[in-house]
Assembly symmetry: D2
Homo-oligomer: 285 residues x 4
């Protein structure tokens, strides 16, 4: 098996660029493609795709690989990169690290030696950090009060809820966290926060963060908790808030998605790189 | 189905006593049995077992039910309480909440309407708190230095590792946590601690806490991390430390087991009570 | 002595508006003046100054009272409010709560029953919170990485340094704090952070916050600590950074002043109100 | 001026021993005297006082120098060491680092080149850490419940109150801190705790820590806050609790003094050493 010396990084946004730059610092040779339009110097030359394919030992593709199916997700590329053409030209030998398929058809990946870093637990856990920070930055920006001293509700104690609630407490907020599992309620209390069952939400909160991908904040729970609140909804579309009712109640709702790449692309790029390294180690690549 | 109004609490140590006292405060009638030798006033009269059995709507048995198989675990009982006799006299109707069987044969429980609070995730999670505090109290007692400023290693990021590392950080220690799962390593970093893989332990630590129930601190890892350290081993017997090698290296090892009942029986008793309540709610008892 | 029932709030920015709204919630009658241009409904009617002066029991003036000497600081007023005219029409009887004089001549205040909330320790301490949060929000916005995991230096352990360093640690940063006083260095260590003497700065930091109002980051210290850093300077003008050298070194420097009113006017307004209440209690007003 | 190469460490308890050992590790030669009875090997030979005096460049005396006036505080010395004789034999040239005089008459020190490390702010600040940890260890030992989840009141926000409250919060307690100064109340809130004025104590607390050296917990405040509480009094004699009333109310009061030397002599010894080093640097010794 060939040792990986040169990484081809094709397409993607600033996360891919930072991923490439960080791998370069670690001693890899890096060939970058699909960044013609990136104005600022990145420290890595951009090249054409054929070069990136033929002279690399492994390929890193973006998260998602494609947003529309037809083209690789490559906002800094001058010309569209055809998904099918690119994927079919990689061949069976070379490891390909992809985020998630996105809208790219699954059969395109069938004949590749393909590893999805976007499906890994370590990737998801690491991204909870920029997501939580992005949510806090947003909350700071859209409110006229400080997080410190603020009554906050975090709905859900999964990865994001866990990191976010800890950060809010570190900023001096009065934090209540909701969870379904009795064991999680105990961990919330052990962290010095107030635990509440998600199916029994109550209390008045100035800031509400939803991390649960189901309709937690329906009419009943909006009335129970959210009068005079600001809501930041981190759940993937369609989110967990009845926005129509919230609108009628004059409760501002901010639906914040894909925060890592937006608020901390450098961190998000290093998270991609680390996930790729972990795959390489586990798979003996 | 009969509503539970009166709880019979039979045998056990101070945890059972506090469990009983706390249920009484919540409005249950409580009949206590097996505490003749408990000197101090507990606020609840101790009575004979027949009374406890016939006048209660549900029975709470200790953790473990029996340490030797023959007798119920009842250190405050004047006379031994025969396990088989007790269990067979309860009958099929009345709910029985047990910790764990211990050495009591499984067939004794077969004809009971039996619920094991000791097997629940919420029970285990909640007990991580008194375990972590007990470990810290022990560390404070056996060392001549403060936790604050101390380089600490916590091996393992399960329930206890998670709570213990957070408490140590809260006391101003310099905390490194080891874990196997890449996702856990990310949560450790998100908590502002140093993450290290359990299979690659290194560094010099003044205090080492082991929570992993396998031989993490073998000769190699003792040499790598533990010179001039104090080790507190929280893993169930036989523990995770090569004690013979540690002895030769003059590394003190404290094997601390069953801490909740020893260091915080009131908290541990309320944890039993809460687990019983959770069972009652889930099972519609 | 007349009990204060009605507060006249004249001029100022959104902090004064929130101060007024919060006093209203506490049961005071409030007369607001100098907010004609404030577009959104504030819940309090704006009135002319004569009304505010004659029908109030005490006056709250902004922070600062005047930015140019001639006019009261009143960005939401349609017409300028003459400082001398206003102050001379208040009279000796009525308590006047002022922030700081700003550019208003001291003699204008001589014949007033005047209390400066802006000089109080509780006011300064409370404002450390929105200042620290504003600094963190700014840092989050101008960097591509997360605070969590970031090596941060906070220069100075006064009010702001103390609150800011604690918030950064709560977000999972690796925090070093510099101080001059040996006692402060001990408190920094007790908080689980790295302490360093301000006259011996060293180390590599991704984020540097300066809170010291003197030239801490001169050429020598920039070279010692700030290569590849982002600097946020919170010290009052001219700040504590040699910006010319920093510019040559391509180190971005953000000089952030008067953060409370900008990032958290509601909190800042309540801080004004609380300081006024504290004065009233201490002075028996 | 002679450079200090050899330190004479005379008398004192284990703190002095650890101070000596730590200075030795830093490269000083150390002559120890007054530790004949110390059973365990300390790594430093004990010698007679004449040797310690004549062959050292500076002397470190204990804290306090004398507990009864007549003899040096030297619990590990076989024979009493006369205070007057020792001090008069040191001479004017050699720097002497003393903790505090204790009962030794002030005139004994008049002709010495004497520095009192026990009077320094850094010394007091650093000792807040072992004091706070000792208080927590004591609280853990004497209660049947965990600190985590416990309602705690810390009376006073001086050095000890500040460190202790932060540690309690780090252990997951629900912490209320009382202070007199309005500015301190703001710092308490900034730390995410509940602030309360010392002259308006109220609330129900399971654990109360007093750090204020005056009768805070008189009859009125005991009735207001302390029913069913455990009190740990850290204030120097006579303490801040009306113990007679507390006794009648069945409130256990633990008066814990001089904790650093008892619970963490190694840390306390290094604090002495650091204070001595700081004096040497400031004084150019």
């Amino acid at each position: 098996m060939k040792t990986i010396k040169t990484l081809g990084v094709i397409g993607g946004d600033m996360r891919q660029l930072y991923c490439a730059a960080s791998a370069l610092e670690d001693g890899y040779a890096v060939i970058l493609s699909g960044f013609e339009k990136y104005g600022k110097p990145s420290g890595i030359n951009n090249t054409d795709i054929d070069n990136a394919l033929s002279n690399s030992d492994a390929i890193i593709l973006p998260l998602p690989v494609s947003k529309n199916g037809t083209d690789i997700f490559a906002p800094y590329s001058e010309k569209p990169i055809n998904t099918k053409a690119l994927l079919s030209s990689i061949g069976r030998e070379k490891p390909v690290f992809c985020g998630l398929e996105g809208k790219a058809p699954c059969e395109y990946f069938r004949d590749l030696r393909c590893y999805f870093y976007g499906r890994r637990e370590d990737f998801a856990a690491a991204n909870a950090v920029p997501t939580a920070e992005g949510a806090i930055e947003l909350a700071m920006r859209v409110t006229d009060f400080t997080i410190c001293g603020c009554r906050c509700l975090v709905a859900g104690y999964g990865r994001i809820g866990r990191v976010l609630s800890s950060f809010l407490k570190g900023l001096g907020a009065d934090v209540t966290v909701s969870a379904r599992k009795p064991g999680d309620l105990e961990f919330i209390k052990a962290a010095g926060m107030t635990a509440i069952r998600t199916d029994r939400l109550s209390g008045k909160y100035e800031l509400i963060f939803n991390t649960v991908p189901s309709l937690v904040f329906d009419r009943k729970n909006l009335a129970a908790c959210a009068v005079d609140s600001v809501i930041i909804d981190l759940a993937s579309a369609p989110g967990g808030v009845d926005r129509e009712t919230a609108g009628r109640m004059n409760i501002p709702v901010y639906h914040a998605l894909s925060l890592p790449g937006k608020v901390a692309p450098e961190t998000a790029g290093k998270i991609i790189k680390n996930a790729v390294y972990n795959i390489m180690e586990e798979e003996g690549i």
